[in-house]
């Protein structure tokens, strides 16, 4: 079985984010591979271990995206492909999805795994959009997955519950928490991955031009979130505290009594 995993390097969750007075962002230079992308990688590696085949990680974009692919190599994928093209710098999720779909088509996998959402732009767009461009079935927010190489059976999260989804390959699925616990690569594997040569492709090699990835959504400006006033501590003995707490809850909940 041939599996592709879409991976993206994003600012670390703990990176400091400042909004400059001109409405642009200043993000501390600390990066990690997408939280859900690592889950997708882990799932792909487990399927390979069970069924044989290959896992290829694909990232679109230059610069830090190389690190996502090195992480994937360190975790154990067979090959990686980086789509690197100046036109991708400005691309939005739809453009990235078009480029990734074109790349995936050349790799002709049986399954594509992506993260449910990338925790920088938090769009949750690229996975389903790639599926749509490929004309493939799609299952989002998957927490359990089985396949025999011909069909698949997945459990997906929905609001307030779960659904079982069955179908035939090829399929694109997005991984969410619960699907698999990502392995931590060994030091030797990290060192080897840091020296690996990363294959890059540009848009032209996929039959695309800059217009195909031109952004449709543009950030006009950023602003900081509203700040909360200083906390008011509830004082008194325990009974009095619970009484005050109850009053706060009832008034803020809009309920009576």
């Amino acid at each position: 079985m041939k599996i592709c995993v879409l991976v993206k390097q994003v600012p670390d969750h703990e990176a400091l984010v400042k909004v400059r007075s001109d409405g642009t962002l200043d993000i501390e230079d600390r990066w990690v591979t997408g939280f859900f992308d690592e889950i997708a990688l882990e799932q792909a590696l487990r399927l390979r271990e069970a069924l044989g085949g290959t896992v290829t990680a694909v990232a679109a974009g230059g610069g830090k995206q190389t690190d996502a692919l090195r992480r994937a190599l360190a975790m154990g994928v067979d090959t990686v492909v980086q789509l690197d093209d100046p036109a991708l710098i400005l691309a939005d999720g739809l453009g990235v999805a078009r480029a990734l779909a074109a790349c995936v088509r050349t790799l002709a996998p049986d399954m594509v795994l992506a993260g449910r959402v990338a925790l920088d732009d938090e769009m949750g767009l690229v996975g389903p959009a790639v599926a749509e461009h490929l004309g493939w079935p799609y299952v989002g927010a998957v927490v359990a997955l089985e396949t025999d190489g011909a069909g698949f059976s997945a459990v997906r999260q929905i609001e307030g519950g779960k659904q079982a989804v069955k179908g035939r390959l090829p399929v694109l699925l997005t991984a969410t928490k619960g699907l698999a616990e990502p392995r931590v690569p060994k030091v030797m594997a990290v060192m080897k991955a840091s020296r690996a040569r990363i294959e890059t492709r540009d848009l032209a090699s996929l039959g695309l031009d800059a217009a195909a990835v031109a952004p449709l959504v543009r950030v006009l400006s950023y602003r900081p979130p509203p700040t909360r006033p200083a906390v008011k501590m509830i004082t008194g003995d325990l009974d009095a505290q619970v009484e005050t707490l109850a009053a706060i809850l009832l008034s803020a909940s809009g309920g009576g009594s």
């Binding site: 925790l119 997906r156 519950g161 928490k177 449709l216 543009r218 950030v219 909360r228």
Partner: protein
Amino acid sequence: MSRALVVVENTGGNVRRACLEALGRARSLGLTAEALVTGTDPLAAAAAVAPYADLVLCAAHELFAHGDADVLVPLVAGVVTERSPVLILVPATLTGRDLAARLAARLGAPYAAEVTDISLDPSGRPRAVRPVLGGKALATVGFAGDGPCLVTVRANALGMPAPGQPGEIRSTDPRVDPGAVRTRVTPLDEAGAGRVPLGEAGIVVSGGRGLQDASRFELLEKLADRLGAAVGASRAVVDAGWKDVSFQVGKSGNTVAPRLYVAFGVSGAVHHVMGMDGSGTVVVVNKDPDAPFFKHADHGLVADAVQVLGLLVRRLGG
């Protein structure tokens, strides 16, 4: 007048709150508020939506039962061609977000996910505000071209409109091609059945490892019932197996923005706070006066969370 189309998500006649809020916002922007309601028998949902809409389009088909995007994408795309809305609004549920993303790719339409505010620029083109980077910044986004713009809207963000004169309910061709359905979907046990879904609850009561034991969540559930709240949990609680991952609040779980968020024995790690910092009033109970969560709270109580929970449930008659 320009139109907005709200794609309504409903389960058993219960309409997602965000859909009504979206219709309300469309009207207050001076757009005609049109709703598309689907289901095996969508009439009850259509009637629930009508007081908030100028027109309700009703598409009935067996295959709409589980919100399968294989049949919803062609339907919405068809309705968009017919009604040419300037703005398409979908609730930002897991299913809604997947539907919107696939629609965006299918229509080549600009899309912004999980918006918390929508306005029109001077030329009448929509603009939206959305939190990024775990709520550390709010982005105002504009949409290219002059075709329909697509947004998913977060619950509790746009404000609940008052019901008015019911709009016309009109049935529409479901445009279903059974051959387009490639997956078989069956609902599984509804973990939170009967309770308000976490993502759209007006009140969330959350528990962390400070509750010390899975059984303490029964007390939390009692409090939730008393307040009409949904129950949330920290990741530590999920990792310990006390609660299913669908309860997790935070960066790698659910993002919630209720008007009241109450946390018992949750430390307030940045990953947790990122999933709830957009909430209205935040109340934190923690035995450690230096718990980070107090920095993100309106009201704080330094006490044993289990004890407080017990007394509170008794006080509120839960």
